[in-house]
Each structure stands twice: as structure tokens, then as C-alpha cells.
């Protein structure tokens, strides 16, 4: 196999959620900031200052409390409306710089820059970085190399140097190997904790050593995926860009409750709302569901733990909120047991397929008006804000609502929640 002439750039937003919260709060610059997971449970994003004082990724809030109090760390509940909008802006800008893009996660994307002149890659990625920072206020790091795995390594280096970009395209092999030597094996893309243990036991401590591991031996002892990772470190591309998003098979919406719920009506309200969200999501992706699961559970950490689930096979695959809510309600009634403090409920729509795959059937004429109702609902909710039109069953006391005690309450995609500035 010959090394390839690909140029792949990985764009990664720095401490993304924290950077979003800082956009309208310049006072938080150079201060320790953390963002919490749903229900204010764990720390899921940290500013560099928060990392430096020893706050750990994924740590529960209560555990980090002493450090947070001592260093006056600013704490935010996650505000996914804001993060989603800023992510869309960053991705939209990237589309102006490359035609083939893999949107890898909310804050990461791979760009195909293969047509570029090798000597201008550095300047180009530095320019992309500058534009994203100016237009959106979000700092990103960009690493470019001949494979995704090497681009990840370059990106790690870009995160630590002070210019925010690094490329292995115009550099010689010696330079790249030196970088790989200082790169711990567990940080290599696709090498998890278990694998790095295995390699460390075999005295393979860094990416450079991993690169020179015998491929036959790897294949015999580990998986083909690991063998591919080794190839990629050698500059042979094995993981092409996934430009077309793969259609998903499932759509799950579930949340832990702000406080536990015991009665059926409150539980029903939560399940109905999750079902509406899930139905909206699959409609926006042009999918329909053939079956659904409803599940409820109590806290695993308390006595009397129960977890119940009911599957429903729908007679006709659908993405219609009313049909799905009807099925989900019956399912919940069948699994509900009184006398428990439920902490979580959710719905999973599964066996998803593109809508037009299903031909018309006997009941099509009944379904058409129902689909029209859904279109009107989606249109109105887009225009007037989420939940402008919903089902009566979804309107209640919202006992199930998640805890968002520290939310910035800003949504840059919704006028009623627009950020404010002072006339001065």
C-alpha cells in the first residue's frame, strides 16, 4: 500500500460549550468556567483555567464543589439551543472553505482539502481559524495531515501551541515522527483505555512505537480496526470521510427528572413530551418508525430499583405525533406500577426507514389529512417557537422538567431569548 496524497483537516472547537457561554460574557475571559450535563449532574465542558485548578472531566458537580467555591468558578447549566445554533454557524462557515465535509460531532468536522497546493495548507487553515473566531467568537483548533488519525494528532498539537493550527503536509517525515514520539498511545484516535493498557504492557507507549508495530501481529491479536489505525499513522488512509450522514436506525429521547415522580399523569406528561420531540426529530429527517419502546425506571442508587419497558409494533410505520403518542400512552399504562419514585422516563422510536420507501396502502386516504396536521404543527412551531402548538396531553405542570438552575437563558436562534446589550 502506498501513502496517499489526501489532505484532511480536523476542525475542533476549543472547550466548545464554555466558549459559547463566553460569547456574550466577555467578563468570563481568562476565568475558570464549567458547563454541566442535563439536570446539572456532571461537568462536561471546562475552560483551560478550570482544567488548571484541577477540575476533572465528567466529575459530578458535588465532588467539584470545594474547588468551584475556592476559585469562584462560573457554573452553567447546558443550554443546547445556544450551542446548537453556534455549531450550525461554525459548520456553515466551513462549507465555504471545503465542499467535502464530515460533520463529526457538535464541535468537530473533517474537511477534505486534497485539491490544495501543499505549500499553502498552513496559511489556509490559519485563515479558516481566524474567520471562525471573528464571525462567531468561537476559538477552534485545526490540524491537517494525510489521514484522519494523523489529523487528530496534528489537532492535539494545535490545541497546545499558541497559533491554534498545525499541519503535517509541508513537513518532512522526521518532524512528524518527532511529534508522534511525544504523543501518548492512549490519546491516539480509536485507542481506548483497554487497548492502551494492552499496548503499554507490550511496552508500546507512544504513537511512534504504535506506528511501527507489526501489522500481521496486530491483526492476529487485535481487531482489523486497530490494524487500520496503525496504517493511518503510517500515512495510509483507511478511514475515508463520511460525507453523507448515515441514516439512523433509532431515535431515543429520555431525561432524568428534576425530582422523582410517582403518579401516572405526571409520568404520562413526560412520556408524551418526549414522544413529541422524538416524532419531530424523525419527521425533520424524513424518517418513519415501525416500532417504539417506552421505558421508566427508578434510581439505580436507591433501594426498590425497578426498570420497566414495553415494546409496541405499529401496524403501519409512521412519524405522525398523534399516532405515536397514542401508542406510547397505551405502552406506559401497561408498564406503570404505583408506589415507586420514578427518576427517568423515555421513548425509543426504532426500525426507522425513509418515508417514501413505504408504498400507499388501504388507509392512505385517512393518513393524508393527519400528515397535513403534522406539517402545520411543524411550520407553526418553527415560526412561533417550540411548543407553540402541541397536544393537550403535553400541557401540564411540567413536574418532569429537567433542572437547569444555572442556565444563561440565551438562544441566538430565537428572538424572545435574544442576548442583550446595554445602551451606554
Amino acid at each position: 500500500m502506498q501513502p496517499t496524497n489526501n489532505i484532511i483537516a480536523l476542525v475542533d472547537c476549543n472547550s466548545f460549550y464554555v466558549s459559547c457561554e463566553r460569547l456574550f460574557r466577555p467578563d468570563l475571559k481568562r476565568k475558570p468556567v464549567v458547563v454541566l450535563s442535563n439536570n446539572d449532574g456532571c461537568i462536561i465542558s471546562r475552560s483551560n483555567e478550570a482544567k488548571q485548578i484541577g477540575i476533572k472531566m465528567g466529575e459530578p458537580l458535588f465532588k467539584a464543589k470545594p474547588l468551584i467555591d475556592k476559585y469562584k468558578v462560573s457554573v452553567f447549566s447546558s443550554n443546547y439551543e445556544l450551542y446548537g445554533d453556534l455549531s450550525r454557524r461554525v459548520m456553515k462557515i466551513l462549507q465555504q472553505f471545503a465542499s467535502n465535509i464530515e460533520f463529526y460531532s457538535i464541535d468537530e468536522a473533517f474537511l477534505d482539502l486534497s485539491n490544495m497546493n501543499m505549500s499553502s495548507v498552513h496559511e489556509y487553515i490559519a485563515h479558516i481559524r481566524k474567520i471562525i473566531l471573528q464571525w462567531t467568537g468561537i476559538p477552534v483548533s485545526i490540524g491537517a495531515a494525510t489521514t484522519k488519525t494523523l489529523a487528530k494528532v496534528a489537532n492535539h498539537i494545535a490545541k497546545k501551541n499558541n497559533i491554534g493550527v498545525e499541519e503535517f503536509i509541508s513537513k518532512d517525515q522526521e518532524y512528524i515522527d518527532q511529534a508522534l514520539q511525544t504523543f501518548p498511545v492512549e490519546e491516539v484516535w480509536g485507542i481506548g483505555r483497554q487497548l492502551s493498557k494492552f499496548f503499554r504492557n507490550g511496552n508500546i507507549m507512544n504513537a511512534y512505537q504504535l506506528k511501527h508495530v507489526d501489522n500481521y501481529w496486530i491483526r492476529k491479536n487485535r481487531t482489523v480496526m486497530v490494524a487500520k489505525t496503525v496504517h493511518e499513522l503510517n500515512g495510509i488512509s483507511c478511514f475515508p470521510l463520511n460525507v453523507i450522514p448515515t441514516l439512523r436506525k433509532n431515535c431515543c429521547v429520555s431525561r432524568s427528572f428534576g425530582k422523582t415522580i410517582t403518579n401516572l399523569p405526571d409520568l404520562m406528561e413526560a412520556v408524551v413530551n418526549h414522544c413529541i420531540t422524538a416524532a419531530e426529530r424523525i419527521r425533520s429527517e424524513g424518517l418513519i418508525a415501525k416500532s417504539l419502546y417506552v421505558f421508566i425506571k427508578t434510581s439505580r442508587f436507591k433501594s426498590n430499583y425497578i426498570s420497566r419497558v414495553q415494546q409496541v409494533d405499529l401496524p403501519i410505520a409512521t412519524n405522525n405525533t398523534m399516532e405515536l403518542v397514542h401508542a406510547a400512552s397505551r405502552a406506559l399504562e401497561s408498564i406503570y406500577v404505583a408506589g415507586y419514585n420514578y427518576s427517568k422516563a423515555g421513548i425509543l422510536l426504532s426500525n426507522l426507514k425513509p418515508k417514501d420507501e413505504y408504498a400507499d396502502n388501504l388507509f392512505s386516504h385517512i393518513r393524508k389529512p393527519l400528515d397535513t396536521v403534522m406539517n402545520v404543527m411543524d411550520e407553526a412551531n418553527n415560526r412561533f417557537g417550540k411548543g407553540a402548538i402541541t397536544l393537550a396531553a403535553a400541557r401540564g405542570k411540567h413536574h418532569y422538567r429537567i433542572r437547569r438552575g444555572h442556565s444563561s437563558r440565551i438562544d441566538t436562534s430565537y428572538i424572545a431569548m435574544a442576548p442583550t446589550v446595554r445602551a451606554f
Partner: protein, 126 residues
């Protein structure tokens, strides 16, 4: 927001001939927002900018991709607070007027540009 743009006035009494002349829709988004990923809509608090036709509660269309120009209005990071300010230009430098006199806007100081205001949306009927 999309509003149908009708090219002829409608007279009452007989079937409207105007329906044949619906050409397109006014699209305020494309009119007010030239660079979508860089544009933010921000609400104003306070009346200190009334002289510059900005009132409490107005919405500002702010484009972060633009550079300051003479007599423009901008969102300024003023000692770690975002404020809306009128910008003056003197000898290639940009300043804001302040009670203590004019202050230089400098990327590397605590008084720097956040974005440039391109439109003020002011409700006249409430």
C-alpha cells in the same frame, strides 16, 4: 418571516385580478442579514443611545464580519461588558465618546469591537 409581495392594488367587489401578480415574497431575512453565520440579533436595554435613534427594547442586527467605519454604531466590549456605542473616526483611529472624553478602541485593550450594528428594528405600534 415571509410576506407576500403583491404588485397591484386590490379593488373590492369583483374577483381579485391581483392574485395573478403575486411575484415573490418579501424576505426580510435576506434583506437585513447579509452574512447569516456572522449575524446576531441583540436586544437593547436602556435609553442612553436615544440620540442615535436607538431605544430601550429595540432589536439590533449585528454583523461580526464587518469592520468599523466612520460614524457607525457598534457593539463594544467595554471593560468586560457588552455595550452599544456610536463610533467616531479621527486620523485612522476609531473612538467612542465617554463622559471622561473620547476613548480609543483597540483590539489589544479592554475596549474592543464585538460586532457592527447594520440595522435597528424599532416597533412603532405596540
Amino acid at each position: 418571516m415571509k410576506i407576500p409581495l403583491v404588485l397591484q392594488k386590490v379593488s373590492a367587489g369583483f374577483p381579485s385580478p391581483a392574485t395573478d401578480y403575486v411575484q415573490d415574497e418579501i424576505d426580510l431575512n435576506s434583506e437585513l442579514i447579509k452574512n447569516a453565520p456572522a449575524t446576531f440579533v441583540i436586544r437593547v436595554q436602556g435609553n442612553s443611545m436615544n440620540d442615535h435613534k436607538i431605544s430601550n427594547g429595540d432589536l439590533l442586527v449585528v454583523d461580526r464580519s464587518l469592520h468599523l467605519s466612520k460614524n457607525c454604531i457598534a457593539i463594544i466590549n467595554f471593560n468586560n461588558e457588552l455595550v452599544v456605542k456610536h463610533i467616531i473616526k479621527q486620523q485612522q483611529h476609531f473612538y467612542i465618546n465617554h463622559t471622561t472624553g473620547k476613548i480609543l478602541i483597540d483590539e489589544h485593550s479592554d475596549i474592543n469591537v464585538w460586532g457592527v450594528v447594520t440595522y435597528i428594528i424599532h416597533a412603532t405600534y405596540k
